[in-house]
């Protein structure tokens, strides 16, 4: 857009506010016309009367903060970072960016770093660190995590809900498997992807990572697995922006190098792809971060765009259970909510039912916190009911923590869309 040149003597509103040195959230704030559509989409506000909703957390709080000596309202820690408000806003207000920024400021400046809440949140958001320790001795770690005394201690000392079962560590991580198989099975300088496996498919569900590698190799891709750290999603949600930035520096450096080798970046977790493509450039100014954002895709999305996936599936059948599919909020925000069921519809022998557009309620680390557990389960109720109503006894989703919640609420076994694709098109 090119504005007409303003005459010299005319009042020019932008000059009143001087030069911004920080991220400028003013234009986004000004774009809010208070229709409150975001508030009607917020799953937390729907069940928690104390939560003022995204319109307050975003543009209204930003405006209040223009006054001196204004603290961030502590209700910002109740936002689960599901980001549904982003997709709801008809005016493109960057609500989640505002929430992330406010939460980061709250944690940095108002939270007691010796408090139990801070330590607990720091631990939860640095899941990868503990997972990397646990997975060194997976059987022992799983045993200890399964002890009643551990979950009692977790709740009493740390405020981690004892209702939740700790995710089991795999006895062999994805990266160990990758090393043992000797890395890429296909070499192809013209078709390369760099796999962002994230923490969960490395330490907890390596079968998802393996499915990802096999499916992409089936289509002739050379898969690269660069060194990587957490995508930052749990850190954003806990306002630990310094931790997230450190992890981002490694990720940007490693994956931009892979992009230089001709690769696109593909993630199997929809929150990881969300983080790399949207939150990274919104929150950090790191050389190459825009490039990484522009090259990052979710795995099924990538295949649908670049390969004739429909054609590959037309004659495919899979020995796979019927599925109750839940689209994670972060998939929804990338516009990917319909693709899994579309893909499943092509495969003979499998019926997939979409369980609707409600939020699972766990939102990463949110539902793990003792004080959020009840809210989390209340939000999830609608999804649980729809899963029970669906003609299936197995769940499917792309988000690891949605999967935990689905399993927790229904007892179903939960699979990943890539596992379905593997069953349909990869020959044994």
């Amino acid at each position: 857009m090119s504005d007409a040149e303003p005459p010299d003597d005319e009042f020019e509103p932008v000059q009143v506010f001087g030069d911004e040195t920080e991220m400028d959230l003013r234009p986004g704030s000004d774009d809010c016309y208070k229709c409150s559509t975001c508030d009607t989409n917020c799953p937390v506000a729907a069940v928690d009367d104390d939560f003022p909703g995204p319109k307050f957390q975003g543009p209204e709080q930003w405006r209040l903060k223009r006054k001196e000596d204004r603290d961030i309202d502590d209700s910002v820690m109740k936002c689960s970072n599901c980001m549904r408000c982003d997709g709801a806003c008809p005016s493109n207000v960057p609500l989640s960016q505002m929430h992330n920024t406010a939460r980061g400021e709250y944690v940095d400046e108002q939270m007691d770093t010796l408090s139990r809440e801070y330590l607990r949140n720091r631990m939860l958001s640095n899941y990868r660190f503990f997972a990397s320790l646990g997975s060194k001795v997976p059987r022992l770690a799983n045993f200890v995590a399964g002890l009643g005394v551990t979950s009692w201690l977790g709740e009493e000392v740390l405020g981690i809900s004892s209702e939740r079962e700790m995710p089991e560590f795999a006895t062999r991580t994805f990266r160990e498997w990758w090393e043992e198989r000797g890395g890429a099975g296909v070499s192809n300088p013209d078709k390369r992807i760099a796999y962002f496996h994230g923490c969960y498919s490395n330490y907890n569900t390596p079968e998802v990572g393996k499915a990802m590698v096999r499916v992409f190799e089936h289509f002739g891709y050379e898969v690269m697995v660069p060194k990587q750290r957490c995508s930052g999603t749990p850190m954003f949600a806990n306002g630990m922006l310094d931790d997230a930035r450190r992890a981002a520096e490694t990720n940007v450096e490693e994956f931009v190098a892979a992009i230089g080798d001709g690769a696109d970046v593909v993630a199997s977790c929809t929150s990881c792809s969300m983080s790399l493509r949207q939150e990274y450039p919104e929150l950090f100014d790191i050389h190459g971060i825009e490039d990484l954002s522009a090259h990052t895709y979710e795995a099924v999305e990538y295949l649908r765009i670049h390969e004739d996936l429909d054609g590959a599936l037309d004659d495919a059948d899979a020995a796979f259970p019927d599925l109750a599919y839940h689209a994670p909020c972060h998939a929804r925000n990338q516009g990917l909510e319909g693709q899994a069921v579309e893909v499943a519809d092509r495969i003979d022998g499998v019926e997939a039912t979409d369980v609707g557009d409600s939020c699972s309620g766990i939102s990463g680390t949110y539902g793990w916190k003792e004080e959020n557990y009840d809210t989390s389960m209340k939000i999830g109720e609608e999804m649980f009911e729809h899963m029970e109503d669906a003609d299936a006894e197995t769940g499917m989703t792309e988000c690891p923590t949605c999967a935990m919640q689905m399993e927790h609420g229904t007892g179903y076994d939960i699979r990943h869309t890539l596992e379905l694709l593997e069953a349909a098109i990869v020959e044994e």
Binding site: M1, S2, D3, A4, C35, S36, T37, D39, T40, N41, A45, A46, D49, D50, P52, G53, G87, A88, C89, P90, N92, P94, R277, Q278, E282, E290, S293, A294, H295, E301, L303, R304, I305, H306, E307, D308, L309, D310, R332, N333, Q334, G335, L336, E337, G338, E342
Partner: protein, 448 residues
């Protein structure tokens, strides 16, 4: 906007995402087009954001006033034949208007009223005006201004968008054939002062326990003391989201009066419920729906559109189809965009006729006859957008809804009807063309 053109990169995509008909836009026009096309074609509907139905009253108008301001019209169909050339109704004809409403009636079933007649209904609004409309939610049925029974309007202290005493005196001043009286009560229970409208609706849906009393009973109790001889009671439109009929029935039984909703501004429960109904109808028709990313560009191939490009965050992904429908909305829905330089159609850059001097776009009087209200693309009688020289842009691209120019939906009260009529006409033609193309391919294949 979070992304700029400069940051886009090509994706090297194949024709992986491909359908018979691609509808761009998820409002009433887009939904109508997708439903109309789905009889004969595989249809995908994409929308940037949730539809602006959430901001709409839920009333679906046909034509309340002529472009010259005559009205309220008793029968919209008496006036449709006299509309000026270029008006969307003139383009598609009265038959398409009927088909559009028939498609709507089919999709919403008994949740809406008004299909028994061509004539306009008169529905009281939350400002106390009376609006001529063609279809109204069942929840507003007992509130019609043509009904001679006296009415009590009830407002809630914390819900400042509806001032019941003021609305009642406005209705009186408008000369309605009944006595209207307004009272303001406190909504029972302990809600935040700024509780969302959906919060009240869900409390009534679930009949939540409010200080020991079920919500529906508690609300009826709060109103009873104020109820005189009135046979009907109007509330702001927050009476349930999932079970509005049940909420009204219980309140009505407790009060001994008919209960109705007065349509409200955004966020609007009647709009939300309508959105739910329409999207259920899309699911039943097998239409694939995607939301979250904007359509931003088009790839042409001579006189045909090959693909519409969707911005998935710093990259453009092509969506191929045989036929395309542009139902991206007007100035509010952001299908029509403007800056100081000019006015344009946001996705395909179709021609939007407008005065060169932007001071000619509007009138001084706030409620004057603004030119901007009629900004939109010009189309031929098959709804294909026209260039400045009057030629067709693309033979397989049609436009529908408020992306069209030549009408002022706010002044005429014609928004819903134009969206239904042109959505139906565009979708029906797109579906037929796509089916025709498929037949040709099949015949061609048979001969080989």
């Amino acid at each position: 906007m979070r992304t700029g053109n400069a940051a886009w990169r090509p994706t090297g995509a194949t024709v992986a995402i491909s359908d018979d008909v691609l509808v761009v836009g998820g409002g009433v026009a887009g939904v109508a087009a997708a439903l109309a096309a789905s009889d004969r074609a595989d249809v995908r509907l994409i929308s940037h954001k949730q539809s602006t139905l959430r901001s709409a009253s839920g009333l679906v108008d046909a034509l309340g006033y002529t472009p010259d301001g005559e009205g309220p019209l008793v029968d919209p169909f008496d006036a449709i034949g006299d509309l000026p050339e270029g008006h969307p109704y003139e383009r598609v004809g009265a038959a398409a208007v009927r088909e559009g409403f028939a498609l709507f009636d089919d999709a919403v079933g008994d949740t809406y009223r008004g299909s028994h007649t061509d004539r306009n209904a008169l529905v009281p609004t939350h400002g106390g005006t009376v609006k001529p409309t063609a279809r109204y939610p069942a929840s507003a049925a007992a509130g019609l201004a043509s009904d001679r029974r006296d009415a009590l309007l009830v407002g809630f202290e914390a819900l400042t968008d509806f001032d019941a005493p003021m609305a009642a005196s406005h209705l009186d001043a408008a000369g309605v054939p009944f006595d209207a009286r307004g009272v303001t009560v406190r909504f029972p229970g302990d809600f935040r002062a700024d509780a969302k409208v959906t919060r009240y609706a869900h409390a009534l849906d679930r009949d939540e326990d409010l200080d020991g009393t079920p919500a529906r009973t508690a609300l009826a109790e709060a109103v009873k003391a104020h109820l005189g001889d009135e046979e009907r009671v109007g509330f702001p439109a927050v009476l349930g989201d999932d079970d509005p009929a049940g909420v009204r029935a219980d309140l009505g039984a407790d009060l001994g009066a008919d209960v109705f909703e007065v349509p409200m501004g955004p966020p609007s429960l009647p709009g939300l419920r309508l959105e739910d109904r329409l999207y259920e109808a899309l699911a039943e028709a097998g239409v694939r729906v995607e939301s979250g990313n904007p359509a931003v560009d088009v790839e042409g191939d001579g006189d045909r559109v090959r693909a519409v490009y969707v911005d998935r965050g710093r990259r453009k992904v092509p969506y191929h189809a045989d036929q395309f429908v542009l139902a991206t909305g007007g100035l509010v829905g952001k299908g029509i965009d403007s800056d100081r330089e000019g006015v344009r159609e946001a996705v395909i850059d179709c021609h939007v006729p407008h005065p060169a001097d932007r001071y000619d776009w509007f009138e001084e009087d706030a409620f004057g006859d603004h030119a901007f209200a009629r900004f939109g693309v010009d189309v031929d009688r098959d709804l294909r957008p026209l260039s400045a020289d009057g030629s067709i842009d693309y033979e397989n691209l049609r436009a529908a809804g408020s992306a069209l120019g030549g009408y002022d939906f706010a002044a005429e009260k014609s928004g819903g009807g134009v969206s239904l009529a042109t959505g139906y006409a565009a979708g029906d033609a797109a579906g037929a063309a796509a089916a025709g193309a498929a037949d040709e391919t099949a015949i061609h294949g048979d001969t080989q």
